[in-house]
């Protein structure tokens, strides 16, 4: 059964290095529209460099040099778009939740406000919609003006998800989002990801192989800067094609 899903992000001959260390070598593949792509691999495999290249956060690191191209909806994000445009469409949720030191409402409204939305009603709508989509609304709807930093870890992370949803992106990147969270909060974050599938393309970098299996449509395995294998989640976990993938999954190295 061949599904012809449109390609959301195409990665061509991507090479990334920091000073003299190559973090990614000759990576070529594409991310399908509205899929959840899991990205797994041991430490230093290049997963985070890859993710940060997708929303041009690597630009902030002066030691980072990139070759190759990344196309979003067919447009080269480095040569045909500017960084802010890219980051509005491709947002990121970080490993440690980073609530800004302001109220919950202001946290979520931060993005839209900076992009020009001034109307109070519109902002309230956006905040409510985003908090509902990240499954946080019920827990905070009565205290929107209290500080975002007073929430629990899991709630803060869902706040960050709501914050990224508020700018209406097309792609959401997750950089090990549940690494600091307890199992219940993790489950809630994963539930949110599944709900969001119908509207957004999502890429999830995770150290937790089981999580990638639970949530991902396809999974990519990175090792030492190379993309070793990418396939439908079921196939990758039951019958990986590459020996290295098998070794990683069975715990031969970690």
């Amino acid at each position: 059964m061949v599904e012809l899903s449109p390609v959301k992000i195409a990665v061509e001959d991507l090479n990334i290095r920091y000073d003299d260390v190559w973090a990614l070598k000759d990576v070529n593949f594409s991310v399908k529209d509205k899929e959840i792509l899991g990205v797994i691999g041991p430490a230093n495999s290049g997963k985070t460099s890859f993710l940060r290249a997708l929303n041009r956060l690597n630009d902030l690191d002066l030691a980072c040099k990139m070759k190759g191209s990344i196309l979003l909806n067919g447009k080269d994000i480095n040569r045909e778009m500017d960084a802010e445009e890219v980051r509005k469409k491709v947002t990121m949720v970080f490993a440690l939740p980073i609530p800004l030191p302001m109220s919950i409402f202001d946290n979520v409204a931060y993005g839209p406000r900076r992009h020009g939305v001034k109307d109070k009603k519109k902002l309230e709508e956006i905040v409510e919609k985003s908090l509902k989509a990240s499954f946080l609304w019920e827990e905070v709807k009565d205290r929107l003006s209290s500080s975002g930093m007073k929430l629990s870890g899991g709630q803060q992370q869902r706040l960050c998800i709501a914050r990224t949803l508020a700018v209406e992106p097309e792609v959401i990147l997750y950089d090990e989002p549940c690494s600091g969270l307890d199992p219940i909060s993790t489950a809630k974050v994963e539930e949110a990801m599944r709900e969001l599938k119908s509207r957004y393309t999502q890429i999830l970098v995770t150290n937790n192989v089981k999580q990638a299996a639970r949530v991902g449509d396809r999974v990519a395995f990175f090792l030492m800067g190379e993309l070793v294998e990418i396939d439908e989640a079921q196939k990758l976990f039951t019958a990986p094609r590459d020996k290295r993938t098998n070794d990683y999954l069975t715990g031969r190295f970690g």
Binding site: L57, R87, K88, I98, L100, Y110, G111, R114
Partner: protein, 283 residues
Amino acid sequence: MKLRPQTKQKIAFTLLGVAATIVIVPVIVIFVILIQKGLPAISWKFLTEMPRMGMRAGGIFPAIMGTLCLVACAISVALPLGVLTAIYLVEYAKKNWWTRIIEIAIVNLAGVPSVVYGLFGLGLFVIFFHFGTSILAGALTLAIMELPVIITSSKEALMSVPRSFREASLALGVSKWETIRCVVLPNALPGILTGSILGVSRTAGETAPILFTVAAFYLPRLPQSIFDQCMALPYHLYVLSTQVPNVKPALQYGTALVLVGMVFSLNLVAIIVRAHIRSKKQW
């Protein structure tokens, strides 16, 4: 007689404690003397009246006003200049040659003797720009003097805002400047404020830079514009204690007390603000 190490330590530590006491004692002594001899002169009239009889009687109101005026004008120039420089150094500058040179320049500005600033102010503002001896010339000179303090404390304040905040903002597609304006600056503001207050307290007490650029011994009226001269507390004290014969000591001590009072209260405010920031810190 060979001493055991523990005994040597006791002796050493005692001497060190004595040293620390010697350092602190003058502060207390000066404060006590000023209050003892200056307080009798302080009264509402002293603070609000114009001087009479060639400074030997009356009040020091114009000197107080002059100092406040100079200090306000100076900080209104030094603060934006200093904060923008700090923003450049922390948020935009790359680690290259130029940045090193800028930092050396700042260290040097901090080290230039105050009287040399006076000469500089004379040459540039009073003469070259034709401002004449005026509040404008004096304030601008003081502003450049204040700059290193403002830059250093603003830099610290900006750097204390966690990097993750900036990343979180940028990752939402917000531009660099907007990130600085809406996330970094508001959270750095208390630190910047502390630095400005300290800068202000230093400029309030400076005499040499204003000697040739603005200070007047006696003016019959308060200055009307920034192109006028003005009186100032430090200069007034200098004149009262060295140039005018037969001045009642109480008057001199009173002037000194007002000046020190002003400077100390500013410092106190800065210390309180700093402590307040540390306790209210949300991160």
